[in-house]
Amino acid sequence: MNTSIYLDYAASTPIDPRVAMRMQECLSNFELQGNPSSTHRFGHAAREVIEKARQQVAGVIGAKPVEVIWTSGATESNNLALFGAARYYADRGKHIISSKTEHKAVLEPLKKLEKHGFHVTYLKPDQNGIVHPDQIRDAITPETILVSLMHVNNEIGVIQNIGAVGSLCRKRDVLFHVDAAQSAGRLPINVHEMNIDLLSCTAHKIYGPKGIGALFVRRHPVLGLEPLIIGGGHEHGLRAGTLPTHQIAGFGLAMELALNERDTDAIRMSTLRDKLWQGLQRIPDIELNGHDSLRVPTILNVSFDGVEGESLLLALQELNLSAGAACSTGSDEASYVLRALGRSDQQAQSSLRFSLGRFTTEQEIDIAIAAVTREVTRLRSIAADVP
């Protein structure tokens, strides 16, 4: 097949060539190959690269560099935030609040915490995917120690009102963790103005390398966290392990580029997404999933009535996209995110997530519209008279 169009940027973005070049510089420069913890010249040189990247990441989220802890990605950041805070503050209370539409990297740690005596309230979003701050306010009890809410949903792209939630958490003296895997570098974030205590982000959603992420941990007043990985006391004792200089340098530059190009990227992406949605709307019996305006320009999730999701995904051979979260692609289970919005199993199962990015072109959108129209029509015709 000659045409292969990538529309799965929400699962992972390709590395920006400028980022790849920066990483290559680190990998090919012998003087940057030292252990960043070493006190000699090579160690110091590597350390300088890492601290520059720490400033770059901190700058994008409005944090101080000392508040940025390197991890292997958003999954580890979420695990460290949730287990770390829950265990550290367990003597204060054992109640945590989150939502039903969080990423599995949040839901699975929460399930495990439940097995260890914590009580978790999973808030149901409205039919557009929005968790209202009032719901969180009403769910907070004297036992509540932590609220964990994603900024942008990875399946439907809706944006939660993080600032309002942060404000009420701070007033009630409850820690606030934000999974910002899909938003850091894409949306304006200021952790201090938004009263965020912990924030997870990752490089591979913003054209950086896989395998590197960060957790913002508030320092003033200092926030307690029990580490998951212990050893050499790296990262203020919160995450042991030798730091990967080239990965971190790539992450830092990717964040800086994301910040510098955020507004132009957003305008371009909105135009392409609108074009895609307008094109798809010519297909009868389709439905947009998620709020129609509180959303990022990069994600469009659509249900195609009367079409089985796995078949549609396979039929669209020229497109590389997902039915939902990458971890559930190919599954005949309906998306738990869409079911939480009140979609039926069948509607949820008949949905595709189109996610656009920096390298998406108008021509690719035209091809995608034509391919989806063709295959939805074909599959509906194969199933025309079955009940």
Partner: protein, 132 residues
């Protein structure tokens, strides 16, 4: 979870039948035509089978199906197996053979049982048509 995780996990035999099912369609319901149905969209898989039967010979077989690629490919294979053959061929059809030939994951077995249901009903209807 399905055992299938990407398009590269499907056999070419599945891909060919899923992308270009020659027997997809329907037949006008005449005195020599039977039609049977099993499953529902609500439960993720549904099939309607049409057979044109003449002198115990299945002249034409057509299907319409809602379901995953394996299900559509299996429905196509069922039609291939019986078209041009006697009703006995339909009686001899076993879902296990299709499961094996198309390497259908065990998690999808319930969908294959729908094919068995629709085939059994068709045998009964075809025999009625022969008697009539």
């Amino acid at each position: 979870m399905s055992d299938v995780t990407s398009q590269f996990d499907y056999l070419s035999m599945v891909m060919a039948r899923f992308l270009k099912p020659c027997h997809a369609g329907s037949l006008a319901l005449n005195s020599d035509t039977v039609s049977t149905q099993a499953g529902s969209r609500q439960h993720g898989a549904s099939i309607r089978l049409w057979l044109q039967v003449s002198n115990r010979q299945i002249v034409r077989a057509r299907f319409q199906a809602y379901g995953c690629p394996h299900f559509i490919a299996a429905a196509e294979m069922l039609c291939e197996c019986v078209e041009g053959k006697s009703v006995d061929a339909l009686q001899a059809w076993r879902w296990q053979v299709t499961e094996s030939e198309l390497a259908i994951p065990a998690s999808k077995r319930r969908k294959l049982l729908l094919l068995e249901d629709v085939a059994r009903q068709a045998i009964v209807e075809a025999q009625k048509a022969v008697i009539a």
